[in-house]
Each structure stands twice: as structure tokens, then as C-alpha cells.
């Protein structure tokens, strides 16, 4: 009898835990659900009182509004989409290449000074990137890069977090694997490209996702390094939409724009979630 009771209590507790967690998920998902539902609302539902959480008659009108209404202003909205996609993809590709190559050296070559370089990288993890924004701006403007794609790409390539992540993963790769490749006569370049990168798919998947998401959502650098309308990225454009005149008239377009900005990071994460979990195990700081 008592045994049964204990079993029942444990099961009940478990059920309670699930219920609580699901309720919590519902609560945290609310803003996102609201955002999605608003993006598909027709105009009359956008200004309903009392406001309705879910959309009644879903429509794509807001998306057309977004693409056409902003057409009459200086720059078509598609330009912001292109800017954001191009910049994020370029940063991801360059950062993956540069940081992996550097991490390979720090992890397996260990030339003199590697320890010091890694210590500097480790300490660079410890400050907000905004701290270096002013001199970075001065450097970018001295190089004549203000208002170019380079200004938004180059400063984001050599990221301490990325090289740290790759190095921690490379450290787990047994040296025997590299020695075997050496014996097979592969060049260092080939070893890096064909051996190291091939076995560290989870690591570079993680790097791709974090870098893409971070830069896709980055608002600060576009704000600082660009002055013309045509160089703005999506988050900045959305902010202009939200803050400019005629906000009420554009609130449908705004909701649609928000939806468009939020979608890619979620999709990318969904695609690579499994791979990330395998990498994050190695990313703790061991001192």
C-alpha cells in the first residue's frame, strides 16, 4: 500500500513538473506567437479593441505593404534584406575560415607565443564588444571604409569567441589522427582541410549558427558604420520603420517586417540544433 502511494506521488510530481514546464513554455512563447499572429492580421484586426491575441482572418497583405509601401521611400525594402543576408553570410564564411585556421595552429602547432596569444584571446572574451567601438570606428574611417560592406564585415571576422570555440574542439581531436595523415604524406593544408575540418563538423556548425544569428541581429555596427539609407541592415530598417512618421499607418508592414527578421535565425537553429549540442560540451573554460 505504502509502496503504491510512493509510486503514485512520484508520478504525480512528475506530471506536475511537466505541466509547469509546459505552462512556462507557453508563457515564454507568447510574444513570439503574438508576433507571428500579428504579421498575418488584416488592417481592421490590427486596431481592434480590445486587442485580440490570435488572428481571425489571416492575410498576406502586410507583407505586400512592407515591400511596396517602403518602395516609395528612398530605398526598397528588399535592399535591406539583401544587405543583411550578404553581410551575415560573408562574416560567417570568413570567420569560419580564419578562426578555424588560427585555432588549428593554437591547438596542434603550438608555435612559440601560442600560449600568450591564447591568453589574450581568453581575456578578449571578457569585455563587451561595444567598448572597442570608437577606435574601431576611427580605424574603419581611416581605412576609408565607412559606409561600405567592408566596414560591417571586417571587424567581425576575428572573433575571440569563435577561435576559442574551435580550439576547444580541436583539442579533443587525437594527435594520432594528424600523425597518420602525415605518414600518408598529406600536406599541412590538406590535413587541416580534409582531416581536421572533416571531423569537426559540429564545431563549425555551431560557429556558423552563433555567428549568423549574432550578426543577423546586430544593430549597433550598422548604426555606427553606415550613414546612407541604402547600407542599412534589417534590424536598423525595422527600427526606422517603428520610429519614423506614420507609424500607425505602417504598423501592418512593421509586424510583417518583424516576422521576416525573426524567421531566419529560428530556422537556422532548428536545422542545426543537434549538431550544436555536441559541440557545446567542449566549450567550457578550463584554466
Amino acid at each position: 500500500m505504502t509502496f503504491n502511494y510512493a509510486k503514485f506521488a512520484a508520478r504525480f510530481n512528475r506530471g506536475l513538473l511537466y505541466a509547469f514546464m509546459i505552462a512556462l513554455v507557453g508563457f515564454t512563447a507568447m510574444p513570439i506567437i503574438y508576433m507571428v499572429s500579428t504579421a498575418f492580421k488584416p488592417l481592421d484586426e490590427l486596431f481592434l479593441y480590445p486587442p485580440r491575441f490570435f488572428v481571425q482572418k489571416p492575410t498576406l497583405r502586410s507583407f505586400f505593404d512592407l515591400l511596396t509601401a517602403t518602395d516609395s521611400s528612398i530605398v526598397p525594402f528588399s535592399r535591406y534584406i539583401f544587405n543583411s543576408v550578404f553581410i551575415s553570410v560573408a562574416i560567417v564564411a570568413l570567420s569560419l575560415f580564419v578562426c578555424s585556421l588560427g585555432a588549428y595552429v593554437l591547438s596542434k602547432f603550438k608555435p612559440p607565443g601560442a600560449g600568450f596569444i591564447f591568453a589574450v584571446i581568453l581575456s578578449a572574451l571578457m569585455f563587451a564588444p561595444q567598448v572597442t567601438q570608437i577606435p574601431t570606428y576611427l580605424i574603419v574611417s581611416k581605412l576609408g571604409l565607412v559606409n561600405t560592406y567592408w566596414a560591417l564585415i571586417l571587424p567581425k571576422v576575428a572573433v575571440a569567441f569563435n577561435i576559442f570555440l574551435m580550439k576547444q574542439f580541436f583539442d579533443q581531436i587525437p594527435d594520432a589522427l594528424i600523425e597518420a595523415a602525415h605518414i600518408d604524406g598529406a600536406s599541412e593544408w590538406k590535413i587541416f582541410w580534409r582531416v581536421i575540418m572533416a571531423v569537426s563538423k559540429p564545431a563549425w556548425a555551431t560557429l556558423i549558427i552563433f555567428t549568423f544569428i549574432g550578426n543577423w541581429n546586430d544593430y549597433f555596427s550598422a548604426l555606427v558604420f553606415t550613414t546612407s539609407e541604402s547600407m542599412k541592415t534589417l534590424p536598423l530598417a525595422i527600427q526606422t520603420l517603428a520610429g519614423g512618421p506614420g507609424v500607425v499607418a505602417r504598423s501592418g508592414a512593421l509586424a510583417a517586417g518583424t516576422f521576416l527578421v525573426t524567421l531566419p535565425p529560428i530556422l537556422i537553429f532548428l536545422l542545426f540544433q543537434k549538431l550544436i549540442m555536441n559541440t557545446m560540451v567542449h566549450s567550457g573554460i578550463k584554466s
Binding site: V25, L106, A124, L138, A242, S287
Partner: protein, 316 residues
């Protein structure tokens, strides 16, 4: 087939070379290493190391980009701490934010990761909590401004009015008293990010045998398990998460701007970074702004060091 033929002959050549030039081989390897490292090093030095050094230099000068920087010693710092009331206000706001949101988001991330790790459908739950952190704070401000809207149409006001909790709508994002709480709530919602994922992964990494051994040694409750086995095993991840949340807490800016605007009413949502941004890119007083940056740099760096000391896994 062709490659296997090619591979054989260089191997023999190489082995001869190795015996003849042993020293230069090591030198060659180092040189190649530096060559591979150079793209990273160049960009890292140009865009991270040099800016930090230059920030420190500029903080001792008056510089407005038009005239050359003029050395003025410590006067930026004395103005900053003794005369600039708005900076003190932003300092207070940032510290309140950091002290509340930092530890809270850290503990919440860990607690949620710990609970999720015992559940089924781990992936689904972790996705649900992680997604808010990968959405753009700026873009979602539209949603927040609706939820916290100050009129009767705002979602929160609407609910609270209809439930009879309040009789007048609350001006959530314009009343200086409620701006900070709203910023903290929104940040907490978005904070189950990188740290949360690291914790989840770390928890999966603790081997089940340790728990079995623990139960033989007399560990009975889940909380004892957590305290004596899980936490010590996860020190590297805990450290990483702590450094991450310190940096994030002191770097609060875009959510504050998205919610309260800039400048915010009565500077209630003004943070250190807002102040830095204001002086650097609106007033172009770059020397003064640099002193703010340097101050922030030393605060986060110092806290990071302290956390590293506390959680260092050296004693293991």
C-alpha cells in the same frame, strides 16, 4: 589510383629531408603555423587589440575627430565621476540591471537546463527556451511596445484592467519607475542563450556512473546530487556561462533603447553603453566617450577575473 603513386615518392623524400634538416623542420613548422595564424592575428590586432590600447590613450585626451587629440590627463575621468550626473544615473541603472538581471538569468538558465535535462522531449523544451534569445531584440520591440503599451489598448494594461488589478492604465515604457523593470523582464526573457546551451550540454556530459557512485556514498536527494556531483563537474561550463552573463549584463543597450527610446524619459533607461553611444556618435566627444569605454572595460574584465578565480578548476 594516381594519388597513391604520388604519395609514395614524397614520403621517401621527406624522410631523408627530416634526418638532414631536423632543426629547420621545426622552424618550418612554426613558420607555417604563423602563416596559418596570420589572417586571424592581423584582423584581431587591428580590430580588437589596437582599439583597446587606443581607447585607453584617447581616454586621456580631448578628441572630436576634427582637431588632433589633445592630452588633458585625468580630467575626463574627474568630469565623469564628479560632474556628470547623467553618467552617475546610467551607472546606477546599469548596476541595478546587472545585479538583478545578471545573476537571475544565470541561475534561471542553469535551473531550466537542469530540469530540462531530466525531462523527455529535451530538444523541444530547450528550443522553446532558446528561441527568444536568437530573436532580434530590436525587431521584437514592436511586440513589447504593444504588450507594455501605456494606453488601454496595451495587452498587459488591458488584461490588468479587465481583471480589476488596476483602475488606470500604467505607462509602462514612459513612467521612469517602470522602465527598468520592463527592461529587466524583457532581457530575462531573451537571456536563455549561449549560457543556457552550454549548461545543457555540460549536464549531458556528466557521466551516470558518478551518480551511481554517489548514491553508494550516501547521497540521497536530487539537491545533494546537484550540489556534490553536478556542480563540481560543471565548473568549466559554469565559468563560461558566468563570463558570458557578466558581459551581457554590462553591455545592455539595444533592448533599453528599443523599449524606452533614447534619451529615455528622465534617463530612466539610460545605461553605460547608452551614455557611451551618446557621447561618441551623437556628440562626437570621442575622448570623453573613451573614458566611459575604458571604465566599462575594467569593470567587466575585473569581474571576469574574479569569477575565474572563484570557479577555476585548478584545485581539481
Amino acid at each position: 589510383m594516381q594519388s597513391s603513386v604520388e604519395v609514395n615518392s614524397p614520403l621517401q623524400l621527406k624522410s631523408q629531408k627530416v634526418s638532414r634538416f631536423k632543426l629547420s623542420q621545426a622552424g618550418k613548422k612554426a613558420a607555417l603555423g604563423y602563416l596559418f595564424l596570420s589572417p586571424f592575428l592581423i584582423l584581431f590586432i587591428v580590430f580588437t587589440v589596437v582599439p583597446v590600447v587606443q581607447s585607453i590613450y584617447l581616454s586621456f585626451t580631448y578628441y572630436n575627430m576634427l582637431q588632433p587629440a589633445k592630452w588633458i590627463g585625468l580630467s575626463n575621468y574627474s568630469v565623469l565621476f564628479l560632474e556628470d550626473d547623467i553618467f552617475i544615473k546610467s551607472l546606477k541603472n546599469t548596476f541595478i540591471f546587472a545585479v538583478i538581471a545578471g545573476p537571475l538569468s544565470y541561475c534561471l538558465s542553469f535551473l531550466l537546463a537542469w530540469v530540462i535535462n531530466t525531462l523527455r522531449a529535451k530538444m523541444l523544451f530547450s528550443l522553446a527556451f532558446y528561441v527568444p534569445s536568437i530573436t532580434s531584440g530590436i525587431a521584437l520591440s514592436v511586440v513589447w511596445l504593444y504588450i507594455f503599451s501605456g494606453d488601454r489598448y496595451g495587452l498587459l494594461n488591458n488584461w490588468m484592467l479587465s481583471w480589476g488589478m488596476i483602475s488606470e492604465p500604467i505607462l509602462w515604457t514612459t513612467d521612469p519607475d517602470t522602465i527598468m523593470p520592463v527592461i529587466i523582464i524583457v532581457s530575462l526573457w531573451m537571456s536563455m542563450g549561449t549560457g543556457f546551451l552550454v549548461f545543457l550540454a555540460g549536464l549531458q556530459n556528466v557521466s551516470p556512473e558518478l551518480y551511481e557512485a554517489g548514491s553508494i556514498d550516501g547521497i540521497s536527494s536530487r539537491f545533494q546530487e546537484l550540489w556534490f556531483i553536478t556542480l563540481p563537474m560543471m565548473k568549466p561550463q559554469l565559468l563560461f556561462g558566468a563570463v558570458n552573463s557578466i558581459v551581457a549584463a554590462f553591455g545592455v543597450f539595444d533592448i533599453a533603447v528599443a523599449i524606452a527610446g533614447m534619451p529615455s524619459p528622465n534617463y530612466a533607461g539610460h545605461t553605460i553603453i547608452s551614455h557611451l553611444f551618446d557621447y561618441a556618435f551623437i556628440r562626437f566627444e570621442l575622448g570623453y566617450a573613451s573614458s566611459i569605454a575604458v571604465f566599462l572595460f575594467f569593470v567587466t574584465f575585473g569581474l571576469g577575473r574574479i569569477v575565474m578565480k572563484l570557479l577555476s578548476s585548478k584545485d581539481q
